[in-house]
């Protein structure tokens, strides 16, 4: 992915397997969020593809969500003036198909679908513990609950892969701990999770596998222990001059124009 002359993400080959929690870490500006935006179709990669369950995804956010990849945002982007329940119901959009006609005619099918959607949404609100606030406007929730609601909204689209962009940013240790539990619970539902995070302890506790992104390129990938032990990671974080070559850098001739982002589950 390039913006003008700047290459933000380059040659990141990356696979997430089903039922796995994978962490993506890296210093500020390493291209983590850009990578996310490429995955979810918000940015069109200059080169490369995103495939999910073996099919290549078109770079259109709504189609990516429909295929089964849902996300949250680094700076919370809830529908602030909708209620908690409505926010989750909007998340159900791709899993329901009632159009304008059925909304106007209100046949039995419509009522059934609305009821089913609402039940499903309420289940999710129970799951994250916000059921009692279903009719509050999202903007009035405390910060931590807004983060949770965003996760519930993403889960409502019944994803196979959930992308969390800094889910614990701005949280205190207890809230971070609770989020950890929540992510484990999500994984137990059989959903693969990809997390961007700055909080190392959170990531190393949580993830089965961690990848380190530095200057738009993948530096290391492996279990927590492997990554923690890797001195290049330490160097990158401490800002020491970094001379070692990333393990899968392409030959120089190809590198300037390659972006291969690949997110795979199952």
């Amino acid at each position: 992915m390039r913006f003008g002359g700047l290459t933000a993400v380059r040659s990141v080959d990356f696979t997430v397997n089903s039922g796995e929690i994978v962490g993506l870490i890296g210093p500020n500006g390493a291209g983590k969020t850009t990578f996310f935006n490429c995955l979810t179709g918000l940015y069109v990669p200059t080169e490369g593809t995103v495939s999910y369950k073996g099919t290549v995804l078109p770079p259109k956010p709504h189609l990516v969500t429909k295929a089964g990849i849902a996300r949250t945002f680094q700076n919370i982007r809830l529908f602030a003036n909708m209620t908690v329940l409505e926010n989750v119901l909007v998340g159900r959009h791709t899993r329901t198909k009632e159009g304008l006609w059925s909304a106007l005619l209100r046949g039995p099918g419509f009522k059934k679908a609305e009821k089913a959607s609402e039940e499903r949404a309420m289940e999710l609100l129970e799951f994250i513990g916000l059921a009692h606030k279903r009719d509050h406007l999202a903007r009035n929730l405390p910060y931590g609950e807004q983060r949770k609601l965003e996760i519930a909204r993403a889960l409502a689209s019944e994803p196979g892969l959930l992308l969390l962009d800094e889910p614990t940013a701005g949280m205190n240790p207890q809230e971070t701990r609770a989020t950890e539990e929540l992510v484990f619970a999500i994984r137990d539902k059989g959903i693969a999770v990809l997390v961007i995070e700055h909080d190392m302890r959170f990531i190393f506790n949580l993830c089965d596998r961690v990848a380190v992104l530095v200057q738009g390129e993948k530096l290391v990938e492996g279990t927590s222990d492997v990554v923690q032990a890797d001195e290049r990671v330490v160097a990158a974080y401490l800002g020491e001059p970094f001379e070692a070559t990333p393990e899968d850098t392409q030959p120089a001739t190809e590198a300037e124009s390659t972006t291969s982002t690949k997110g795979e589950a199952q």
Partner: protein, 599 residues
Amino acid sequence: MTETTETPKTPAAAPAEQRGLIPLPLAAARALLLVGGIATTASTFLPWTWTSDFPGDLTVNGYPGGLQILTLVAGLITVLFALASYGVRGLGWLLPARNNAPLVLTALSGFAVTWYTVLTIAGELGGIVNWEPGTYIAAVASLLPVIGALALPQDATDTTKEALKAYIAKPDRIPAPQATAPWIQRLAITIIAALALTVFAYGIDAEDELFIGFLIVVVFTSWALHSAGLFDRFSHLTATNRSFALAMGFVAAIAFPFTQTNDHYANLGVNILIFGTVALGLNIVVGLAGLLDLGYVAFLGVGAYTAALVSGSEFSKFSGVQFPFWAAALTGAAASLVFGVLIGAPTLRLRGDYLAIVTLGFGEIFRIAVNNMDGVSGPDITNGPNGIPSIPDLSFFGFNFGDSHDIAGFTIGRFANYYLLMVLIMALVITIYRRASDSRIGRSWIAIREDETAATAMGINGFRVKLIAFALGATLAGLAGTVSAHVTYSVVPNPYQFAGAAPPNSAFLLAAVVLGGMGTVSGPFLGAALLYLLPEKLVALQDKSLLAFGIALILLMRFRPEGIIPNRRRQLEFHETGQLDVPETTTLTDEPAITKAGA
């Protein structure tokens, strides 16, 4: 109706820092309110002038007329609120928060309308020699409640300006209403609907001075009811009895032509309904989906021209063709739909601002095109600036809309017939609006308006749902256009422009939506009624109505962007600091409905 039995605060119980703007003991203040109210009411039974030249004939002893009736009503309302402040059993519901503002505002209402009348008598008849003793009594009597109200104790403030503001402020907390039996709630709704109909019917018949007096009383009284928290109570009431309230509103709307003896006023009614319905359609586009459509009236025009072309008018290019109305209505709606998609498809992919300008362009192009299609400067289709006149009246199953009919002793004239047809179409559009907004598609419109990026990340195809909203809005406008073509006998290009002296024009419709309240059902109707009636009734305003629209739009956006009837959601959006408005109950089916429909 809830009855509050708690006793009013006595002066002793009032905190020390409370005092009135005018230093008077509380008992005296209350007494002034009550006595003044009664005296104002009584004064209307005296003659206020000697000559019947003044409109309404204020000369009769023992029988109020014209503006005196308004003073009478204002006086009675003052008395009611004064009694409520005494804690009279059965009236406690009038002052749920027990604040001063309703008392102040009702007193002001009586004062303003009385003094307006008194001064107009002097002004129009040439001096105060035309006053009778009754006039002096009324003038003094109506002043008493104002003095009394301003003497009511109020939390002390630093400046007089703040003190005055506090006197008309709505309290932050209105106590929750006590539970009442459903039949009482329904009775209340019925009474309110009947009252609303009476007020509206009175207002639409009022002319000149009487209309100004009417406005004074309505504005102050509504403000008083609002500050008492009664409007909040009312919307709560309608929310819990939604279908009943809608049915009553519908019945009241149908009953309106039966209150009118002159078909001219039914004409005003039908126009308000047409413009209100079109504005409600625009509200789907602007209020729900957040798309600024500045050429909305062109879709109305497409519908009207289509209906005119297939109406069988001898001036139509297809004069041999006469569709039955249902077919003409469908054709008109379909033609608008086609234009809606043609305009929407290229622009809705882009940033919202482009839509505004492209629709503005389309609106203008529509007018230019129909102006040119006269066979000389363009193809011969629309007859150019002359338009298509003598559109025949509609006729359903032998019921000719052009004739007067007698129904149960009431004569229903031509415009009243169309009025009733429009009520049906209005009901249809309201149903569409409400059903669409409370569904998967409606939620996705609001989501797109709130945050388009997040909405697409949740799987919403932004372009698709925006196009649906835009096309639906266009279709509804086209439908209304087909009726309006028949009502006005002819279609000409001129009314279908962005801004013009006479409605409909896009600026008028947009102003109606913004003034009434974006995202609400009743807002556009209220807005259309106000914007249509004011220039119609106040001749002085007629020439300056566009100027007033413009200034009103600027001031509204600056000071009350949510409009007269705020949609709760919108209100919070525009006032970033708006505090939470958490529903009191958790009854699952009703509360979200309030958020959606506003009132």
